[in-house]
Chain length 705, copies 2
């Protein structure tokens, strides 16, 4: 019998924190420095931590496990209160850099708040930035203090009930009335009802509406208009009908709504006229590229790649800390008779470490995407402002690349992060199912990222088509491809059955593996071109090939940037660990996941594949194993961000978890509110009594007479 310490125990209990702390003490590198790498620079890493500190101390922004107990109504209220609080930070902010970090942190620990603000500042203002003149941008953004979450609160009116991905098919109309110099915005039927509009149900005062421009009976396609929804007393404008979409799988804190316009009149100057213009006389100037009006979505797509990195990091951390602290089954290898740490099982390493590698590799790709988009948008703005047509055309060309890369990366990274959250949850067994450990709400909140701002399947299809088209051009006419698809120029040379990865050491050479992905994509694209030819040139027939191309292209992007970053890394002492993570990413996340494609396209032999799966991956996992705690500590997430009872920094899994459960569900209340009803059912009288003995023998003898 042990001595009583904190509580009376009749035997010593588990001590998971000892395992975690021992491994932490043995770290072979400095997690603070690794954090600089993950956040792209020392300055950004420190910015991230200072923002986190400010938020975790803020009484309104701080989060804890009680968050997981909120009802939908409570979530809505907390969300509104947090938006109001963020507004206060915004208006005193010296620049917008910290605000981007703050929103990224919000996206990580309370994504519904992040989204509600993001719809306003990102999509609504993004639409105005992308489609409005400079004067329009200034008026709607800063003159009205919208960018401080003040006065105007915008929502983004693209999707309709019957049209999502096919934006060009939207059916809301904006008909020019030359007599009054106004547009009449109208929802012609139920299918054109604006649907899923975040912020519409209760918050938004204005909406950037995507509607068909109709002038003199002619349909000029979908353009953008600012339409007020509510007046300054927050009452609905005449002709505007709005409702709450109600309960969702996740993100119930967002007041998604539907909107119907019944002949709502707006002045002509509420049309966003950077590219498309309608004159007083009804003359229409069309934009150089219709896609430009959707550029508002690009920021969101790029943000989702960044979110994918941080969410991958957060949930891999929880699962890995648990796997280090948790023990299960005795192993003959364990001399002291204690049970084996979960993470010492090769299968468990295989289940989790590739996800850790994903977080690391995604971090580099996400920062690169963010930088590329910012540069491209700035260049386009300058070109448009100077009316420099040559520069405009160059920007449009760059923008096409950003469309392809962001489509591939957004779809692949959000899918993989959804898988990561669910797989990490499962790896924690039953405890992964408790709300207080974070996975449930996370999955539910996350998965909409696979659908919104470009449905992943539709995006992936849009990536495959240009690849297949380009490879045909290369093979037929030798047309030179540029930008991120330039590796297709070698199509002729790789259009054969030559093996490329000839041994597992080839695979471990990241540059060779990168080249192997290029060859595989090229061969799939060539095969796709044959399928298209056999199917009356219908690209609908190569949906599956396009999907594979898109996913592989995303891995290609990530890996290419990762190799580049390692080469340029100023913290050389970290490179051995980064290299191993990159290798694991290649073997487990790319080659094994696409093993059928790699083998059947002769990029790798069955023998090498078997060796990679059965020997190489387990070996890398085993090598990474001792540094797992340091590699997760490197994300520098405090318990506030982690918000998971079993994933806290101290590793005191069971006490933390039990403590949270008891605090939020006081056990002194031994009866539930519905207990009386349940008890009376359990203690009910017999059926004979309740049926007034009508089926008894006595009744029978009477009733049979």
């Amino acid at each position: 019998m042990s001595v009583a310490t904190g509580t009376v125990n009749s035997a010593p209990g588990p001590n998971p924190q000892a395992s975690i702390q021992a491994e932490r003490a043995n770290s072979s590198f400095d997690p603070t420095v690794m954090h600089y790498f993950l956040e792209s620079s020392k300055a950004k890493a420190e910015d991230f931590k200072s923002v986190c500190q400010q938020m975790e101390r803020d009484p309104i922004l701080a989060n804890d496990a009680s968050y997981y107990d909120l009802t939908k109504a409570e979530q809505r209220e907390v969300t509104a209160r947090r938006i109001a609080r963020i507004a206060q930070y915004l208006e005193i902010s010296p620049d917008r850099k910290t605000e981007a970090t703050r929103n990224a942190v919000l996206n990580l620990y309370d994504p519904q708040v992040g989204t509600r603000i993001g719809v306003n500042l990102g999509l609504f203002l993004g639409c105005i930035r992308g489609n409005g003149t400079v004067a329009q941008q200034k008026y709607w953004t800063s003159t009205k203090e919208t960018n401080n979450l003040k006065g105007i609160y915008g929502c983004f009116g693209m999707t309709e009930l019957a049209h999502g991905s096919n934006v060009a098919g939207l059916e809301t109309t904006a008909t020019f009335d030359q007599d009054t110099d106004e547009f009449v915005v109208n929802t012609p039927h139920i299918g054109a009802t604006k649907w899923w509009i975040g912020g519409a149900a209760h918050s938004a005062t204005h909406c950037s509406v995507y509607a068909r421009l109709i002038v003199n009976g002619e349909d000029f396609g979908v353009k953008t208009f600012v339409v007020p929804l509510r007046d300054s007393n927050h009452n609905l404008m005449p002709g505007v009908s709005v409702g709450d979409i109600g309960a969702k799988m996740g993100r119930d804190g967002i007041d998604n709504g539907w909107i119907q316009f019944s002949s709502v009149r707006i002045p002509r100057f509420f049309m966003l006229q950077k590219f498309c213009k309608v004159s007083r006389d009804g003359d229409v100037v069309l934009p150089p590229l219709e896609q430009l009006s959707y550029s508002a979505l690009l920021g969101g797509r790029v943000q989702m790649v960044m979110d994918s990195f941080r969410w991958s990091a957060r949930f891999a951390t929880i699962a890995l800390r648990y796997a280090v602290g948790r023990r299960q089954f005795k192993s003959s290898a364990q001399a002291d008779g204690s049970e084996t740490q979960l993470l010492n099982y090769p299968l468990h390493q295989k289940r989790l470490l590739p996800w850790l590698a994903q977080a690391y590799v995604f971090s580099v790709g996400a920062w690169k995407m963010e930088e590329t988009l910012a540069v491209t948008l700035d260049e386009l703005d300058i070109a448009v402002e100077n009316n420099d047509m040559k520069a405009i055309m160059k920007s449009i060309n760059d923008m096409k690349s950003v469309f392809i890369d962001s489509a591939a990366n957004k779809s692949t990274s959000t899918w993989l992060t959804a898988d990561l959250i669910d797989q990490c949850r499962q790896s924690c067994g039953g405890h992964g199912y408790s709300s207080y450990n974070g996975f449930g709400k996370a999955f539910n909140d996350w998965v909409v990222q696979c659908t919104w701002e470009g449905d992943n399947s539709v995006l992936a299809m849009s990536v495959g088509k240009p690849f297949i088209k380009a490879v045909v051009e290369v093979l037929k006419n030798g047309k030179k491809q540029t930008g991120s698809i330039s590796f297709l120029n070698d199509a002729k040379a790789v259009d054969n059955k030559d093996l490329y990865l000839r041994s597992s050491s080839d695979v471990l050479d990241l540059k060779k593996s990168l080249r192997a992905i290029e060859i595989l994509i090229t061969r799939i694209a060539i095969q796709g071109s044959h399928i298209v030819a056999e199917n009356n040139n219908s690209y609908d027939s190569v949906g599956a090939s396009s999907l594979a191309i898109s996913k592989l292209k995303a891995h290609h992007y990530m890996l290419k940037e990762y190799i580049d970053r390692i080469e340029k890394n100023e913290y050389k002492e970290l490179n051995p660990y980064l290299l191993k993570l990159g290798q694991l990413y290649v073997t487990a996340n790319v080659i094994e996941k696409f093993s059928g494609e790699f083998v059947s396209n002769y990029v790798i032999s069955p023998e090498t594949l078997n060796e990679v799966i059965n020997k190489v991956t387990p070996k890398i996992c085993a090598e990474l194993r001792p540094d797992v705690i340091a590699l997760t500590d490197s994300f520098q997430f405090s318990d506030f961000i982690i918000n998971s009872a079993i994933g806290k920094h101290d590793g005191n899994i069971y006490e933390n978890y039990f403590g949270t459960v008891k605090q939020l569900n006081p056990s002194k209340l031994t009866k539930a509110p519905y207990s009386a009803e349940f008890e009376s059912a359990l203690n009910r009288s017999s059926t004979d009594v309740r049926e007034r003995f009508e089926r008894s023998g006595v009744a029978g003898s009477i009733l049979s007479k």
Copy 2:
């Protein structure tokens, strides 16, 4: 301008119901007859429908979309009320057959009610049936009317906070006190707290506790005991501490609890003593097979295979109806200028039809498993009652097969059904994310099936090991294997690189594909045996191989039974459709999913694989396409079971969905409860005012002096 009909429209809206109804009218077979096949017989199909009808008319049991709006507290209350209602049906039930159907239907539309009843009647009583003497079974089951949900309400006390899958490592103790002829049940420390116990928090009066039997200081391992938790006034017994585990990812209607026993005394006869006995003097008789005490879990595992069939059917139906009614993008093929039905895209067929095939193939396997378990348990009971040791040993042997088959089938079918729900959700785009379309709660409720009553990964590991061991025996000593692993007897003949599936017509021959799976499993097992040998005979090193073997074994079981059922099918006219579904299952769900394994183990060539993926699967999908509505109608689910606004029988997707949203979120309430707070934040005064002009130039000139 169209004429006003139900509502005023300025243009004709979408008409999804027309597409669905047209396809329904063109059905080439009778869905009612197909239902007989799916429910295994005409009698069972009619039983299913009559139970559904009774439940959908019952005011307490009926379900609708408001179910998705319930808070946790409301879910608990509704669940309790439904349990009480089911109790009334139970006590007037002439036999238990209909009750099994009723619970299966509950599991389908309100699984938390199904589970709460299932924990009591399935696990608690199952534990007593599996471990108690006949007299004990009778006392706890019928004498006390527990089987009518009356008087006693049981929960199942296996899992602990620090021990789940390793049941043999549980730490709760039951120490025999010979002086008083009692056991003292005790929770030695926090790690041994019973955890996740369904019904414990608020409902259960008794618990079947798994605890270490300690007699005279000796630990005899984990045995089973009935321990009362609450008295007939529903107050906690002395020494019993119970609490609510709180919020979960799903199934919040279940009052999962934790239990700590502090020296709780129970009479010796509360121990379940079918196999293991403790005499008055403390003599212990141990059971012939320790695993027998876990046989209570088998019923649940088999039920989960059945649930997998019906859930697959339900969510495939929703997604397919939506895919028939929804149109997106114009296609040149569409002469009338309308947009293309989603399901006419080859990629969309590829995304969804393999899931439909899964539902069909699972139905057959599920019925077979259910039948096999019932027979095996009955035989064991009779053998034990007659004390017929030869029969007992035969039953134990049969039971081992059931352990393997149910482990492989439970883990694989619950994983695949989770994938199905999420993939079907994604295929519905944004609308899949609305709670009212059913996917969200379904996924959250479902995925715990991958964890409880045998964690899927642990179960899968347990399947792989006997295969690898057996193949070594065969290759070394030619030891003959029996039962479901008997195909390993050919190990020597297939231990080579000979192709087996030599053309796509081989693949389409279901028996050849079945054989191909056997060859693949054998080769993976042989490869696994080499890995074990290279790793000091540690089976921990073949986790990944075991996982693959387990999944392939499940597909093998399902496909084998499916082939068998088609051969014996009395409704021959259905066979062409069933055959196509079986072929699609093989090409898309087995060969493509395991393409890396099939190719790298030389079971299929890269060329044939490519042909299967790029030509055969799309062709089968296109052939099945016209009968999709009939194939989903064949499940005979009414709107009550479907409970999805976009998945209703009439196909009037948009009206149904908008109607549900408006009904549950009345749009006349244009302001949210939190609106005032939000408005005042939006209309706040300037920072200058709120900072009392303390940073103004005037203040500056004063404060700088």
